[in-house]
């Protein structure tokens, strides 16, 4: 980071907006480097490295927000953009009913750096492309597999956040992920099976430690078994869900409804509102007594653990659901005060220098229980064990959901037997979590992250990690994922 010049630009911006009489302002300067390597059907289809550099100035003036951003980092552009942000805020103020008030936050001066053993950008491209080609070769060698894909992704963010309150934060953050997929064909049908490392804030050791060749062989074999498996019969089943699958269930049915800006109507025109309205906090039964969902933006390596959010608020840990009762929201400095909280939960994040930060889901995880996975399965007479992500859809208040999965196994009389295909289950969020009667212990806990969580207009991609151990849900409605079923 060219710290001195960024500091100079930041000071120039804040001096300019202070002179305009703003109540609050901040500037974020960001330099993001992203490397993506994509392979398909035994070939490397793309290697791309992108550098995305710019700044955004956010001002609060006359109780209303203005935001302007530019990719031109110069002594001429910064004051122009600062003036534009103020002008925009004045316009917003002309349509204000309730003035924006930020809850207090101590001033922070700090530097945050991702701990990593191996910088992904220092790893030779030849090594990375060879890994993907070998993984695809292993997958395609399996009889019945007709297609393969594999990819690696890494991102570095160098960021400076400076505010008129005196906060000065420097970040050097990394994130890494890899994946491969097998597609099998049988009798006019096709089916995919995937292996994904989690997205984590760590180094390339995440990729080296994952055994892509072993995992490639496993998913190839399972893709073939899946496409040949019998379709599920519609009915009620007990479900045992793996941590990767649960990461999506938690994200959609707990993460999004616990965003306070949604509960207050800010997303009404796009992502929707929330059934978890503020009047329900502290009393509403979200799930059974074994369901405790904790937001933790302090856990090392997780995507939302960046030390501070884009309000300059310290990352924290708090309860969303405690013993089945809804108790807490994800907030930023703007909305926290609307539910009489004295401090933001530090969940305000933007996806680039050109985006304005908004409330994003924290790293929400299901607290472990005491069972083993075998215990959970042993107590199921007729059920389905589900791994990974499939299709997903949920209504705009986050009640009515439908989830698929990446792989399904029938459970009969306490034993996992053969694979099934075309499994989708559906239900209502509070009833579904109310049917959770067992969670596996901490040794089963795994973390999976999202970097494409869509929200906002213009749309932004949010980043967060969800952790869980396996969990069991009783008598859930399962359908066959076919149009004529």
């Amino acid at each position: 980071m060219s710290g001195s010049s960024w500091d100079e630009l930041a000071e120039l911006a804040l001096t300019r907006v202070r002179a305009a009489g703003v109540e609050y302002a901040d500037i974020r300067l960001l330099d993001t480097t992203t490397r993506t390597i994509g392979g398909a059907d035994r070939r490397i289809a793309q290697i791309r490295e992108s550098s995305d550099r710019g700044f955004g100035i956010r001002v609060l003036h006359r109780g209303a927000w203005g935001f302007a951003a530019s990719c031109i980092l110069s002594l001429e552009e910064v004051p122009r953009i600062a003036d534009l942000a103020v002008e925009i805020a004045k316009g917003s103020a002309s349509l204000a009913i309730e003035k924006v008030r930020l809850v207090p936050e101590p001033v922070h001066r700090d530097r945050v750096t991702t701990a990593c053993r191996l910088d992904p950008f220092s790893v030779p491209l030849e090594e990375q492309t060879a890994l993907l080609l070998n993984a695809m070769e292993v997958i395609q060698q399996h009889p019945g597999v007709v297609r393969s894909s594999a990819g690696l992704w890494a991102q570095r963010d160098r960021k400076l956040l400076v505010s008129t309150e005196g906060t000065h934060l420097e970040f050097s953050l990394l994130a890494v992920q890899g994946e491969c997929t097998a597609t099998a064909l049988h009798d006019g049908r096709f089916a995919c099976r995937s292996f994904n490392t989690p997205h984590l804030r760590t180094g390339y050791e995440l990729i080296r430690d994952a055994d892509f060749l072993r995992e490639g062989a496993r998913i190839a074999e399972q893709a073939v078994e899946k496409v040949r498996a019998p379709a599920v019969h519609a009915g009620r089943y007990d479900l045992v869900l793996d941590p990767e699958h649960l990461s999506l269930t938690m994200h959609e049915s707990c993460g999004h409804p616990s965003e306070l800006d949604r509960a207050l109507g800010y997303e009404a025109n796009y992502a929707g509102t929330s059934f978890l309205t503020p009047d329900k906090r502290g009393t509403y039964r979200y799930g059974s007594a074994v369901v405790t969902l904790v937001a933790d933006n302090t856990e090392a390596e997780t995507l939302a653990a960046t030390g501070y959010d884009d309000d300059g608020v310290t990352c924290q840990r708090w309860d969303i659901v405690r013993d089945g009762i809804f108790v807490g929201y994800c907030t930023n400095r703007e909305v926290a005060g609307k539910i009489h909280e004295e401090r933001s939960r530090g969940s305000n994040r933007a996806d680039s220098w050109g985006s304005v930060p908004m409330v994003r889901i924290a790293n929400i995880g299901l607290e472990p229980g005491t069972a083993t996975l075998d215990d959970l399965i042993a107590d199921v007479k007729c059920g389905i064990y589900i791994e990974g992500h499939g299709s997903y859809s949920i209504d705009q208040r986050r009640y009515n959901f439908q989830f698929g999965g990446d792989a399904f196994w029938l459970i009969e009389n306490g034993r996992r037997t053969h694979m099934l295909r075309d499994v989708v289950y559906h239900g209502m969020t509070p009833e579904f979590w109310g049917k959770c009667d067992g969670v596996a212990d901490r040794s089963h806990r795994r973390r999976y992250g999202f970097i494409t969580c869509g929200k906002g207009q213009p749309g932004q991609s949010g980043w967060m990690t969800h952790a869980a151990s396996h969990a069991r849900f009783r008598r859930i409605d399962v359908m066959t994922g076919q149009a004529k079923a």
Partner: protein, 423 residues
């Protein structure tokens, strides 16, 4: 270009200025303006290629981006599907830029937001929505003689009106900011919300006759178009495999690409510099085209690669121009304003799921008789568009999940609503 060591070099520039005024609870919650320029460089040595991009247009950054693309290309495995960049092309030269949109700034966007909010406040209703406008300058060049340049403007408006537990919605997208019809669309959203606030009844899940407004039809159509790619077709991993030249939907329906249509967001060239042109995709229900890249086009001996950025879906002899023409002739059915969160459930038969949103009503004897609670659907557009009963002439449709299209409102028999939600 002259500093490149590669056998071939392609430069792509996109410079976008634009902003969005976003409102909720009848006040502005977000008001942003952004300028982002991006230069992408792809370099090839033989069949090895690499790409790098930057938002920094200083000479040093451009040189470093070129060097990075070269470094990547030199160590890339050879790509058996690599093709050199295309040479000079002839383009339609469409009027893709409108000065009123290019000139619009935060003040103009705010005026439109004020107009929508004002109408809702007069009705004691709650407005949430956006007004946005942008100008994109797009350029392409390659050492093969390829040069392409275009200015593209785009304006968008969307509005959700809340009346108690009910919502009404309308949206628009156009090259011209003057063609968003803010007042008319605000009144539509208000009308939907007020009608929906009248004690919605819960109907059981099941198979219903439905009247799908253009936005809802567009959602289903988009789900179908995503999977038309030729590579999947060739590998047998497409729901359309083996169906090129076969009838896939009702024989009265056709789908064309019409880039020069004034109400669509067509453009003159693709990201590879290929010319965009009018083309027929489905004719009388028969699939006529696949989505090709240059490699599969060569394999299939396709000379010109057809695109689908300006879709017009239509049927012969429509029964009218407005959804009311369908309502009037319906004995009993469910009127659907829009679908939300549409996702693929089964790639083999193209089963999709999603929820109804922003106005779902029971129609009996030619009239809307009540609001109903929102349903989840579970069906395939290949099945749905074969259960077509009646339809209107195509109309503008834009949703938060699809691009802009011209599609009819449709009455469909035997549509599968698999469950119901709480509101």
């Amino acid at each position: 270009m002259k500093h490149s060591a590669g056998d071939h070099t392609v430069l792509s520039i996109r410079d976008v200025h634009g902003g969005t005024t976003r409102f909720a609870n009848n006040q502005v919650i977000q008001n942003v303006h952004q300028r982002r320029g991006t230069l992408s460089i792809t370099v090839a040595f033989g069949r090895q290629q690499g790409s790098a991009s930057t938002t920094d247009f200083t000479a040093g950054a451009v040189r470093e981006t070129l060097k990075q693309a070269e470094r990547i290309a030199r160590v890339s495995p050879e790509d058996p599907e690599y093709l050199p960049p295309v040479g000079a092309q002839a383009y339609l030269g469409l009027p893709t830029s409108r000065p009123e949109t290019a000139a619009a700034g935060p003040a103009r966007r705010l005026d439109y937001a004020r107009e929508a909010i004002g109408q809702c406040k007069m009705e004691n209703l709650n407005a949430a929505g956006t007004v946005s406008s942008s100008l994109a300058v797009v350029g392409l060049a390659a050492d093969t003689g390829l040069t392409a340049y275009e200015e593209r403007t785009e304006a968008r408006f969307s509005l959700t009106v809340q009346a108690g537990d009910a919502t009404g919605w309308a949206a628009a997208a156009h090259r011209s900011l003057d063609r968003l019809h803010i007042q008319e669309r605000t009144l539509t959203a208000i009308s939907k919300a007020k009608r929906g606030d009248d004690d919605p009844q819960e109907l059981p899940p099941g198979r219903y006759t439905v009247i799908l407004e253009p936005a809802a039809v567009s959602g289903l159509l988009s789900g179908m178009l995503w999977t038309l790619d030729a590579k999947s077709f060739d590998k047998g991993t497409s729901p359309f495999s083996g169906k090129l030249g076969a009838r896939i939907i009702d024989r009265r329906l056709s789908l064309v690409n019409q880039p020069d249509h004034v109400d669509l967001l067509g453009y003159s060239f693709t990201s590879e510099g290929l010319p965009v042109f009018g083309s027929c995709w489905i004719e009388a229900g028969v699939l006529k085209q696949l989505l090709h890249d240059r490699y599969t086009a060569q394999q299939h001996q396709v000379d010109r690669i057809a695109t689908l950025e300006s879709p017009v879906f239509s049927g012969e002899r429509p029964i009218g121009t407005r959804v009311e023409d369908l309502i009037r002739t319906t004995q009993r059915g469910i009127l659907v304003t829009n679908f939300w969160y549409i996702r693929l459930v089964n790639p083999s038969d193209l089963t999709l799921t999603g929820m109804t949103r922003d106005g779902t009503f029971l129609v009996e004897n030619g009239e809307i008789v009540s609001a109903v609670r929102n349903f989840r659907f579970h069906d395939s557009p290949l099945r749905v568009f074969n259960h077509l009963d009646a339809y209107t002439a195509p109309a503008e449709a834009v949703t938060s999940e699809t691009g802009k299209a011209l599609v009819p409102a449709m009455r469909i028999d035997d549509f599968n609503f698999s469950s119901v939600t709480r509101f």
